[in-house]
Symmetry: C2
């Protein structure tokens, strides 16, 4: 059995969000899919440990922001590798409230959906929430960000709570398979790889900068982990 077969299942990348009274929160999810056409029902699979899971159970409503291909890694890091119990994620992005009050992104978001929770199914570590479409809109014509693009082009990884988490060994072996012309370093928190050939131009680190030469206060551009935690791969 070769479980790498699972890696060719196609997914998008989304921010799944909710509002419970004054509390708003969201997280990255890749398992969003329409399950019926009449009425229109949309399903999402969310890890039970996640704060968004707790809030959707309380609110009975969820939103889906369909991310654009040009979504910066910082936004994915903000929503995917931080916990809403500690960080007000929506304070750092542009958003609006959909018809039912659920926050949805208005930047790096090509469409949004808002659903009223109709059913929830326990599948072990995760719950599949199924909701009927309440509101939806197209914000711009652009390509959606796919999970394949995120992995292959953006070199992103999945957190341990993702349904498609590949295990640290699988992720590291993938990196080792790549041709290495200089030492790359991996963030042990979120899996981000610092590649000296690429640098970190959003933080004024030019391509060609060795990891060892990064300033000591440089931190992971995705999850803000300290430079000292990084592991050579």
């Amino acid at each position: 059995m070769d479980i790498k077969a699972l890696f060719d299942i196609t997914y998008g990348l989304y921010v799944v969000s909710t509002r419970y009274g004054e509390i708003i929160n969201g997280q990255i999810a890749n398992t969003v899919f329409q399950v019926t056409a009449e009425p229109i029902n949309v399903a999402v699979s969310i890890n039970k440990q996640n704060y968004t899971h707790e809030l959707i159970e309380k609110s009975g409503r969820f939103g889906v922001s369909i991310l654009a291909q040009d979504t910066p890694m910082e936004l994915i890091g903000l929503f995917g590798f931080n916990c809403g119990r500690n960080v007000n994620k929506f304070a750092k992005v542009k958003y609006k409230n959909a018809a039912g009050g659920t926050p949805v992104l208005t930047e790096y978001c090509i469409d949004y959906l808002e659903c009223d929770l109709r059913q929830k199914f326990d599948v072990g570590t995760h719950t599949i929430f199924v909701g009927e479409l309440l509101d939806a809109d197209v914000l711009k014509k652009d390509k959606p960000l796919t999970y394949a693009y995120y992995h292959e082009v953006k070199k992103g990884t999945a957190p341990k709570t993702a349904p498609t988490y590949r295990g640290i060994n699988a992720e590291i072996s993938e990196v080792k398979e790549e041709q290495q012309t200089a030492s790359k370093y991996r963030c042990p928190i979120c899996g981000y790889i610092y590649d000296p050939e690429v640098g970190d131009v959003n933080h004024n680190i030019m391509p060609g900068t060795r990891f060892e030469d990064l300033p000591s206060d440089w931190c992971c551009p995705i999850c803000t982990a300290a430079k000292s935690l990084f592991i050579k791969v």
Copy 2:
């Protein structure tokens, strides 16, 4: 509310199959997704009207063949627009039995999965089947066929039983939005569009052949509907 927002959800295209004693059958599905990592569980959403639905309920096992981007429309038509009650679909393709006996494609298939049914969830017109991974293999390195590629490049459509069925009006309006330099004709059964600029080279119809000039015994290359049923779009 603009339900075109749903069209940017990302999916792949798969043949979901099963074996019940001597009976083997499969169908096209786009809603296949991993829902948990420990243990590995995979979910598929299948219309209750479909023969594959009846057989999975009886067999308690299902397979997923992840289709390659170069999968011919004929194969999609065979599995997507025919009913296994009338046609032995696997008689027309290359396949093998996975470890648990489920038939999986060995051509135009980049990976396969085989799952033991663990749970099933009623979502109205469809059932979400959740199965634990029993067997999986990678057959070749190639790009998976995505639903977006099928729609945009191959000009494919969804049958009425698909969870993502867009309605005949939505599909036709999409076609009307395209620049038309010659009369195209649409198959009312499966949605295939005969485009005179493209012809039907697999059946010796050269590009440039007007629909009106096709032989009277020409039929839909996807679902074999008669020429006389086609509608000008």
